[in-house]
């Protein structure tokens, strides 16, 4: 009884667990229940039950409602599909002038809008692509193919790789100094010499369109949200869902709306990249000191002047960090959107992975990572750069970089010209090294992979078998063994214990959505893989973080490592694991673990670092040992921040689990991947994406509520 009074929370939790397990044991597995493989839900089977809602027939295998809830939301994907189809094909037909046929044509409004949008995007991408690589499309856009035939000289020549490489080095020098310039020069040269120039420039042109557009929209919406509470409230749920929505899932509806190709990829990338930009803009604007705003007002600023001359320049740093985020999302999307036909390195990477040509995949992945790191470092350098004053410099001092670039352009063109004379075999290596003519290390890597397989096959296989048979299979069976009602009770109870009625209701709603969708079993598998990944990642991350924190140099080193790993597009992680473990769940899980360990480690270090120096001194003066300090002072205070790390770890793990479908898992991701090649996949893809997002949001809500209370309790923040 005394114990009960002393630790009331503990007993509440124990009680909750007791109820949960009681329910698990009380509700038996129905005899007819089996995990449905493939897409059998859509096959008509006389054993299935059916219901009709909103005119849509939903078929499903009925079980005891305590075991699995009926898919009452099963009509949702079908309904989304039909609505999209109606919007695109039947809604608001209007007369539009067709330039090619010179006559009016009837077309639904939405179709016309999306077609115009895609045409515009295509133009932008082609423009940049042809500046870098040369081509005809841009000129055609202003004239016509006939005109091109009549004027064969009219073609954008493209820039020789030497100019692009040197140009990026100059820009890097201006932003971040010598080290960054050297890095830029080396990585660009590497890309060229190894024959990856063309796909790299395609990827780069994609990013140079997607990133600025995302930036503009994100900034605009961020400003709107800052100025109007109503806009903020409307945006908030979308931002929340988008943060945990797997990027994969957005592909499918966009496919329906915008078709296949780079333009669709740009639009999807914007959908994914704009939310973080909005958040950081909002954060930056909110952080502007109120007195600075008042100073602006007292200077007689109109609203517009206040925003453009006071608020945005003062929030510059946060906004540029947003740009950095946007660029990172763009890179990860550059790969993922290869699924819907975006050209470039991502496409090569996917192709190589599909053919199990690890060497080629590695080369493409390396190039993406090199460019990603370069742009990441450059945008961060830009964010941290202080404005300098140039008032008392003369023209040459002020413009030395531009002038130098001008010289480079001339030299580059001359080199390319001499190259065209010198290299007689049709390839001008000083202009562009063709894809198959560069140095390739693919064979070397492939041989390496073969050697690893031959040498360590027994051990890898043994490990693989052990992991799958003794750990993963039982864990998966346990998750699937949970009756739906028991899961609901557990989640809602946790919500109530942590955040009261409000939290319980939110969590209950999110869980119900998944439980009432047709994919509860799949969601359980996703959760099991994510749980396994998160457990291992957190163990590793918290340990490594704590160990590294003991020394200043290792701390900085580890943070840098995290930075660099985070820059890799998520798909790149699949390459080495497929090298070692082939196509198994183990591969996916190891990729998940590696990927999700990054935030776990980073937040541990940051949390420990945020413990105030005064407390350290106070602790030292009361004569604590290193361990006492760690356990009595640093951990309790850093714990809330570490829990935020756990939150991020979960999001990262979910992302990777879903991407892991590419290797072959039997979870929600598999269905998302399938939806990509399904004509009626849009609704399914979107609903699945929302399911994954909601899994993330359930944990997000619980953890954030807890951290908020804890921080208040500790008086930090």
């Amino acid at each position: 009884m005394e114990l009960l009074k002393k630790y009331p929370k503990l007993f509440q939790w124990l009680f909750l667990l007791a109820v949960f397990f009681a329910l698990c044991f009380a509700i038996d597995v129905p005899e007819t229940y089996k995990f449905i493989r493939g897409q059998a839900e859509f096959v008509k089977d006389p054993n299935q039950s059916a219901f009709v809602f909103l005119g849509k027939e939903v078929r499903y295998y009925a079980f005891d409602v305590f075991w699995r809830l009926p898919p009452l939301l099963g009509w949702l994907p079908i309904w989304i599909n039909d609505s999209l189809f109606f919007l695109m094909n039947d809604w608001m037909p209007m007369e539009f002038w067709n330039e090619d046929t010179q006559e009016y044509k009837t077309r639904p409004l939405v179709l016309q809008i999306t077609r115009n949008l895609t045409a515009f995007m295509t133009f932008l991408i082609e423009l940049i692509r042809e500046i870098l690589l040369g081509g005809l499309e841009t000129i055609v856009a202003f004239t016509s193919w006939d005109w091109i035939d009549a004027n064969p000289w009219a073609e954008l020549p493209g820039l020789p790789w030497t100019i692009v490489a040197a140009g990026s080095a100059i820009l890097a020098y201006k932003l971040g100094g010598k080290g960054l310039a050297l890095y830029a020069l080396l990585s660009m040269t590497y890309i060229s010499i190894f024959g990856q120039w063309k796909p790299s420039m395609q990827t780069l042109s994609f990013i140079l369109v997607a990133a600025p557009l995302s930036f503009i929209f994100g900034l605009g919406l961020g400003v709107a949200a800052y100025k109007s509470k109503r806009v903020e409230k409307a945006l908030y749920p979308i931002l929340l869902v988008m943060q945990t929505m797997p990027q994969y899932a957005v592909l499918v509806p966009a496919l329906v709306l915008f078709g296949v190709g780079d333009h669709a990829a740009v639009i999807i990338t914007m959908i994914v990249a704009v939310p973080p930009m909005i958040l950081l803009t909002l954060l930056g604007l909110r952080a502007v000191p109120p007195e600075v705003i008042e100073a602006g007002r007292m200077s007689g600023c109109s609203n517009w002047q206040l925003m453009s001359k006071v608020l945005i320049p003062t929030a510059r740093r946060d906004i540029l960090i947003g740009v950095n985020q946007v660029i990172m999302v763009c890179f990860s999307m550059a790969v993922i959107s290869a699924f819907i036909g975006a050209k470039g390195l991502g496409f090569n990477l996917l192709l190589a992975l599909n053919q199990l040509n690890i060497g080629l995949a590695l080369e493409a992945g390396l190039c993406i990572s090199l460019i990603a790191i370069l742009l990441d470092k450059m945008s961060l350098a830009w964010a941290n750069k202080q404005v300098d004053y140039f008032g008392n410099l003369n023209f040459f001092q002020r413009n030395k970089n531009s002038l130098f670039f001008g010289v480079i352009v001339i030299v580059g063109i001359l080199l390319a010209y001499f190259g065209s004379i010198y290299f007689k075999d049709g390839y001008n290596y000083l202009f562009e090294v063709p894809h198959n003519k560069g140095i390739s290390t693919a064979d070397f890597w492939n041989k390496g992979v073969d050697w690893i397989f031959d040498t360590f096959f027994v051990y890898i296989k043994a490990f693989n078998t052990w992991l799958i048979v003794d750990v993963l299979q039982p864990m998966r069976a346990l998750y699937l063994r949970m009756p739906a009602v028991a899961t609901l009770v557990l989640v809602v109870g946790a919500g109530y214990l942590i955040g009261g009625v409000r939290s319980a209701l939110v969590v209950c709603g999110l869980t119900l959505f998944i439980a009432l969708s047709p994919w509860w079993d799949r969601a359980l598998v996703t959760t099991y893989m994510a749980t396994f990944g998160v457990l291992v990642s957190c163990t590793i991350g918290f340990t490594v973080g704590t160990l590294c924190f003991q020394n200043k140099h290792t701390t900085n080193f580890m943070l840098n490592v995290c930075d660099i790993f985070q820059t890799f597009p998520s798909f790149v992680y699949l390459i080495p694991v497929m090298m070692l473990f082939g196509i198994t769940d183990t591969s996916v899980l190891i990729a998940v673990i590696v990927y999700a360990t990054i935030p776990a480690t980073r937040y541990t270090i940051e949390g420990l670092r945020s413990v105030p120096a005064g407390l350290h001194d106070a602790a030292t003066m009361s004569g604590v040992t290193k361990f006492q300090r760690l356990f009595k002072i640093e951990f309790p205070l850093a714990f809330p921040h570490m829990m935020l790390g756990l939150n991020q770890t979960i999001v990262f793990a979910l992302f990777m689990v879903i991407i892991g479908a590419f290797i072959g898992t039997e979870d929600l991701g598999q269905y998302i991947l399938k939806a990509l090649s399904d004509k009626k996949g849009a609704g399914i893809g979107l609903t699945l994406g929302i399911c994954v997002a909601f899994i993330g949001l359930i944990f997000d809500n619980l953890i954030r509520t807890w951290v908020g209370q804890r921080k208040k309790h500790l008086g930090i923040d």
Partner: protein
């Protein structure tokens, strides 16, 4: 007497969801406690006063007393919940946005506690900022800003960024910026509170020098009673949103209206604050010595002179006419009498 530059009539500022309705229901009798129970916080409670041209009114109060809120009502950075505010006869609360912007661009300048400089602009650009907002040509505004740089003694640093300056220097920039449009009304919100004591004193002297030259109408906010005494023509002492006393420094020191005000005055070295004219008596027929003191002297400066006399000393005005008298006992009473431990 000409019209006051700033005139407040029963100004209220109440924070909270249904502040306006509650104010109406209170019928001019606002009690902070009952309002707080209903979720409203009273910032300014029935403030009425006038500031005439060229006068410096210092509003003194501890943190949370509503002094900054009062200033923000008068600069209309927040809208007052009730009452009327007139700036040179214009009803401030009835101005539309454009008129308000016009007023700020031409008539008002404000200095902030945390300097509130724009981090991305140089000293010169910061000072030229209000001018450029107004739409003045870049060259003219830079020239004018350069004059301001010289006025506050920052020549040679005009191309520095705020982050490269010390606190005192940053506040000089803040002062220069607020003066760039040559406003008639100058608001200063605890301008020297974030500075070190030595720098603060230096800035106060600098400020007095500037005011001597410029003769602006000033509202100066501070939590430092000594600063208020040093600078003010009149002082308003605020507590919980209410102006407890509004009077000249001498009257506040000699006749504190409430217990709260008296606590501030207790520790004040009167000889450093009071002038002879504040304590002198009528002209008497007593035998007065040859020594004469000016009525505008601070007591401290002439105390020795008077106290070494046994007779009453004559007090003169600037034209050397005798306007009063003072005897040594009076000085001793003023400086040492009436203190707490004498009661």
């Amino acid at each position: 007497m000409s019209e006051p530059v700033i005139k407040c009539q029963s100004v209220y500022k109440i924070f909270g969801a249904n502040a306006e309705r509650m104010l109406k229901e209170a019928n001019g009798n606002v009690d902070a406690k009952t309002f707080q129970e209903n979720g409203c916080i009273v910032g300014v409670n029935n403030a009425s006063f006038e500031v005439s041209k060229g006068e410096m009114l210092v509003v003194m109060g501890l943190s949370g007393s509503g002094k900054s809120t009062l200033l923000r009502c008068i600069s209309r950075l927040t809208d007052a919940t009730g009452g009327k505010i007139f700036i040179e006869g214009q009803d401030l609360l009835n101005l539309n946005n454009k008129e308000l912007i016009d007023l700020r661009r031409n008539k008002m300048g404000m200095v902030f506690q945390s300097f509130a400089l724009l981090p991305h602009k140089t000293v010169l650009e910061n000072i030229a900022f209000p001018l450029q907002i107004k739409g003045i040509k870049t060259e003219d505004s830079i020239n004018k800003a350069m004059d301001m740089v010289k006025l506050v003694g920052l020549d040679g640093r005009e191309n520095y960024f705020p982050r490269e300056l010390s606190g005192g220097q940053q506040q000089r920039v803040g002062i220069a910026r607020s003066l760039a449009v040559e406003p008639d009304i100058w608001f200063l919100d605890e301008p020297f509170s974030a500075l070190d004591p030595l720098i603060r004193k230096e800035m106060q002297d600098e400020f007095l020098r500037l005011q001597e030259k410029l003769q602006k109408t000033i509202m100066f906010i501070t939590h430092d009673f000594d600063e208020a005494l040093k600078l003010a023509d009149r002082i308003a002492i605020m507590k919980d949103g209410i102006i407890e006393q509004l009077d000249t420094p001498a009257n506040i020191v000699l006749n504190p209206a409430t217990e709260y005000v008296r606590k501030f005055t207790e520790e004040v070295p009167r000889e450093k604050v009071l002038l002879i004219k504040d304590v002198m008596d009528e002209i008497t027929s007593d035998d007065m010595g040859d020594i004469k003191v000016s009525k505008d002297e601070i007591i401290e400066n002439v105390a020795e002179k008077i106290l070494t006399q046994e007779k009453t000393v004559a007090v003169t005005d600037s034209k050397n006419n005798i306007v009063g008298s003072i005897n040594p006992t009076k000085i001793i009473n003023t400086v040492f009498g009436g203190r707490k431990n004498n009661h």
